[in-house]
């Protein structure tokens, strides 16, 4: 087990290293305007001095080395245009909590609704609940999210008699954005669980379980659901990490001060250091998510063996 974890960890670190290095090198090709608040008014001497101070005049390998040193110290640099002079870590720390809270709640809601829906659909294949669920999934996938988000916002707000904009201190104000954020994942979980369960239901071991006298209730829960859930577990950490990294559209719609809109903002503002920091954070989140998924999967699926190969007999 430890060896397996070590191996996966190492692979993840190598991937992360390659991605970070690539992003860093690419970012160096961006126009230098991205490091200045107001380059038009600065003269050449000031510009050169600042570039020197930022280390941008150094040879690439020195820059890289410094960059990794800083990362290990937990220093992501400072913002130059978005909020001049503010450490990037602080900016993110101010925005992350609300996104994380919303993401976690939305995740819980998605699992709580999506999983039973998928299971119900698989059990009543081609019957009433399956048709309702399929209609829902098709709707969510076919209609652009922007459309139903806006409907939810305008109708929902007037129904709940609340303002359209977000106020973190009021419980009711959480309902609509969280619900909007969850719809996609509810459909996603339901769709995959149904598919995996229908696959499992057609397998021979279900026949055998039936033949030995297990009730169809127990077959669905103890055999089929459990087995169908295992392949889904792999994706849950990624999906969790991505929901907590914020939903761009929902956050801007409700003016929620979260992480979601940040990347768009800093790109339009051409804040090089912040773009770099955020891209790196998202890349790391992706890699960590996959790593956790694999480890979780290995923990749960006995067919993935950690130990040395033991021959079948």
């Amino acid at each position: 087990m430890l060896k397996y974890v070590g191996k996966r960890l190492l692979a993840a670190l190598v991937t992360l290293f390659i991605i970070l290095t690539t992003v860093f090198v690419l970012m160096r090709q961006m126009p230098i305007e991205g490091y200045f608040d107001n380059i038009d008014k600065a003269d050449q001497g000031v510009i050169d001095a600042k570039l020197h101070q930022l280390g941008l005049k150094d040879p690439m390998h020195i820059q890289l080395l410094n960059f990794y040193k800083n990362i290990l110290k937990g220093d992501l640099g400072v913002s130059n245009r978005y909020r001049t002079g503010a450490p990037i870590i602080d900016i993110i720390a101010g925005k992350a909590p609300i996104s994380i809270q919303m993401g976690l709640i939305s995740m819980a809601l998605s699992l709580l609704l999506g999983i039973p829906l998928g299971a119900k659909m698989a059990r009543s294949k081609y019957k009433f609940w399956d048709k309702i669920g399929t209609g829902f999934i098709v709707f969510i996938n076919a209609v652009p999210a922007a459309v139903y988000y806006i409907y939810i916002q305008s109708y929902g707000s007037s129904m709940l008699k609340i303002s359209m904009l977000f106020d973190p201190s009021k419980f009711l104000n959480w309902v609509l954005p969280v619900f909007s954020m969850s719809l996609g994942s509810i459909a996603y979980y339901a769709m995959w669980l149904r598919r995996y369960m229908v696959d499992e239901l057609n397998k021979d071991y279900v026949q055998l379980a039936k033949a030995k006298g297990v009730t169809s209730q127990d077959i669905t829960m103890a055999h089929v659901f459990r087995n169908a859930f295992v392949p889904m577990i792999q994706y849950i950490p990624s999906s969790l990490l991505f929901t907590i990294s914020g939903s761009i559209y929902v956050e801007s719609l409700y003016s929620i001060p979260g992480m979601g809109g940040l990347l768009v903002d800093v790109i339009t503002r051409q804040d090089n250091t912040m773009v770099q920091a955020l891209v790196m954070i998202y890349a790391s989140i992706g890699i960590i998510g996959m790593l956790l998924g694999d480890l979780l999967m290995a923990l749960i699926d006995p067919r993935i063996s950690f130990a040395k190969k033991e021959g079948v007999r």
């Binding site: 039936k210 030995k212 055999h223 006995p302």
Partner: protein
């Protein structure tokens, strides 16, 4: 003959498929005797699996018993509708071993758990009692180091070992009837013989009645007291092993026996039955085998033959037995069975 444990009367099973109706079992009347081993043989698609699945209510969703009855312990299983009714039969009274051991176990549960499930359901055993019994059963089916093996998952077992586990599950239920649906087809020849031997031992040890499905007559000689030959959803001939091997009466049985590899002569092409089985979507007129039988009589195409009794134990559905029919001799090769019969029995 001893007591009848299960009897079907004029059983008809149909499936609906894309709006059309397929008549898979066409009036099967069969008696299974307590303690015997009955083999059901026939080509692929002849209805062997469907017939036995009706005994446990395991027909696919699109299939139903159209008419006829299945008598078991005074109840007509053909009338069973609810899961609750079937749970009194499944595993408890009739257990089943499926064809493909690679897929018939749940890959995510230890084999101990999967055997334990049956023990808890049918004998109410749990905890240490169950563990003890699981180990006994594993030893029974020839799996050594049961304490360690029961904690392992199916992927840690080879095909033959998995089939032993599947058999262990069936035996753990302590059923009266054990249905083996081609239990050795997916295994290689040496393992086949071992599994066959194991089934024979367990039948004796646990006093089971066994219904053994196969399309390989060579295998049958080793397990069966009686043989039922199925063709196109019907039993065309039934008799003791000796009767079917040494004095077969139906042209289809002749064809099946002639294609036994054991009867082949080196260098000569092996006999194979011409044509294909009839389409069960269409209504079958006369003897279903007639279109493939070069020596078919005119009446074979017009009217379905009744059963003719050859002996107390041997009957055949074939017009050749009618007193008015011309005399048709079985193919020459079949004589080799009597001379080389020893060969067939000792694989």
């Amino acid at each position: 003959m001893s007591e009848v444990i299960l009897r079907t009367e004029d059983l008809n099973v149909k499936f609906s498929l894309r709006g059309r109706v397929l008549h898979a079992i066409r009036g099967v009347s069969l008696e299974v005797y307590k303690g015997e081993s009955l083999a059901i043989v026939g080509e692929s698609g002849s209805g062997k699996s469907v017939l036995t699945k009706t005994f446990m209510g395991l027909l696919d969703q699109n299939g139903w018993v159209d008419s006829g009855s299945i008598w078991f312990e005074g109840n007509d299983l053909a009338q069973y509708k609810t899961e609750k009714e079937w749970l009194t039969i499944r595993g408890k009274k009739i257990a089943m071993v499926l064809q493909d051991p690679m897929t018939s176990l749940n890959p995510l549960k230890t084999i101990g758990k999967q055997i334990g499930e049956a023990l808890e359901l049918h004998q109410g055993l749990k905890g240490d009692d169950a563990n003890k019994r699981i180990q006994e059963i594993l030893l029974d089916v020839g799996i050594k180091e049961p304490a360690r093996r029961m904690k392992q998952y199916p992927h840690q077992f080879s095909g033959g070992m998995r089939q032993r586990v599947v058999i262990a599950i069936a035996v753990a239920c302590q059923p009266d009837i054990l249905i083996c649906d081609e239990p050795t087809t997916a295994l290689d020849v040496t393992i086949q013989a071992q599994i066959l031997g194991l089934i024979r031992d367990l039948i004796r040890k646990y006093n089971l009645t066994c219904i053994y499905i196969t399309h390989d007559l060579g295998v049958v000689a080793n397990v069966a007291d009686r043989i039922a030959v199925m063709y196109a959803g019907d039993i065309v001939e039934i008799g003791t092993s000796e009767e079917i091997f040494f004095s077969p009466k139906h042209p289809y049985t002749w064809a099946l026996l002639s294609s036994l590899p054991q009867l082949g002569v080196k260098g000569e092409e092996l006999f194979s039955i011409r044509g294909t089985p009839p389409n069960l979507f269409n209504e079958i007129k006369g003897d279903a085998f007639a279109p493939r039988n070069p020596k078919a009589l005119n009446i074979d195409f017009k009217e379905r033959p009744p059963y003719f009794d050859i002996s107390d134990t041997h009957k055949v559905r074939c017009w050749l037995q009618d007193p008015r029919a011309p005399k048709v001799e079985p193919p020459q090769v079949l004589e080799r069975i009597s001379t080389e019969g020893g060969n067939l029995y000792e694989q």
